[in-house]
């Protein structure tokens, strides 16, 4: 059985198999070595994620890694139009710690890779035609997202887990608000590429890579054209 890499998160995870998405790129990267399993739940915060974790992750199946990518919804401001998704900063840290503990207990050898929420482009949020927001004020701010990102990094440090500081990383890129984001929150093609490359790099640093995972069934490049069946003993 191939090992699994679970992607646990909110809409930025659920949408990761859209065109040029980071989840699809990971599946392609690990095509013959690991199964990438999508467990993205649009709109979810850590409070709801914790409620469903037992049902989302069955005990069966070997996981080598789980990405945990929450915070973008927790960081919705408590007095704006997406307030029902807001989770206070202190509770966010606690919930995230509980999610990591749960996953570590489920799979003691699995890498639990935390990803901070991305930065927010407030202008981009206000132009989102899909959201009912008569106030004219963004439901998320970059400053709030940054606080949740910091809390995520603290949890990773406490738990000894690797972490991708996406909030900082993206803001170092030129024109990040429109280059990396599609609507001030979700990822553009370039933003997806950043996440994909960071996940591959972080997993490699902790020993999960094409070099360490065995290939499933003989590769065509290893099959002897003069005697192909030699590669397929009964």
């Amino acid at each position: 059985m191939r090992p699994k890499i679970y992607l646990f998160g909110d809409s930025i995870t659920e949408m990761s198999f859209e065109e040029a998405g980071w989840g699809a790129s990971l599946t392609n990267h690990f095509a013959r070595t690991a199964d990438v399993v999508l467990r993205g739940y649009s709109g979810y915060n850590t409070r709801w994620a914790l409620k469903v974790a037992e049902r989302v992750f069955p005990a069966a199946g070997e996981a080598v890694a789980v990405t945990v990518f929450f915070g973008a919804n927790d960081a919705c401001l408590p007095d704006r139009c997406s307030a029902f998704q807001h989770v206070p900063l202190e509770e966010y840290g606690r919930n995230l710690r509980s999610i990591v503990s749960f996953l570590k207990e489920r799979w003691p050898k699995a890498v639990v890779l935390l990803i901070t929420p991305p930065p927010i482009d407030e202008e981009g949020r206000l132009q989102n035609p899909y959201m009912e927001n008569p106030s004219g004020l963004p439901e998320r701010t970059n400053e709030a997202a940054g606080e949740y990102a910091k809390a995520c990094i603290d949890v990773a440090r406490e738990c000894g887990s690797p972490v991708i500081d996406l909030w900082t990383k993206m803001q170092q890129l030129p024109n990040w608000p429109t280059a990396c984001l599609s609507d001030g929150l979700h990822l553009s093609e370039a933003g997806n590429k950043v996440v994909f490359e960071e996940v591959v790099k972080k997993l490699e640093e902790v020993g999960v890579s094409l070099q360490t995972l065995p290939s499933d069934q003989p590769l065509i490049s290893h099959i002897d054209p003069k005697d192909p069946l030699k590669s397929f003993p009964n």
Copy 2:
């Protein structure tokens, strides 16, 4: 546990999570309802696929559907540069029948959806810079691919399985050799879209669709903003 949709095939399956790939699009389509599991093996023909089937498909896990997409390599001509991948037409049919029987025995309720090899653009094959082919003759012809496609349709009819006649379908599209194919054999973005849409349509016809599969965990659109936790009983 979510049901699984396995994709079993050769490189056209293994590469289906590249940009705009049909496997990635299927994963996105079924994001909250089923796990799309990649079992693509570049270069494989039905003879080798049959050799590995037991190891590729463990008994565990509920499958609702399996796509079986082989024939492009079986149809390599026996006297050209990819001869070692060739499988005679009669054996191809027999192997395909055995693969369907094996899957039906593994999961009696699963839909086994056959897909014929795509048409071949011989000009495109000769321009492939990755293949050593000093003969100047294409290793595959469209005519041969068509014979394997017909055999695949015959097997589907005998087994009572749905089938996508990709060979015929693609040739009905304008400029198919360059519009649908990237190198005379593998799929372009438009070619990937054809396969994705055909798979969704065929699965829907046999009752596997977003309408019939339950969603995993409450959808954000069903969560009451005034009392979100109502959706998450302990």
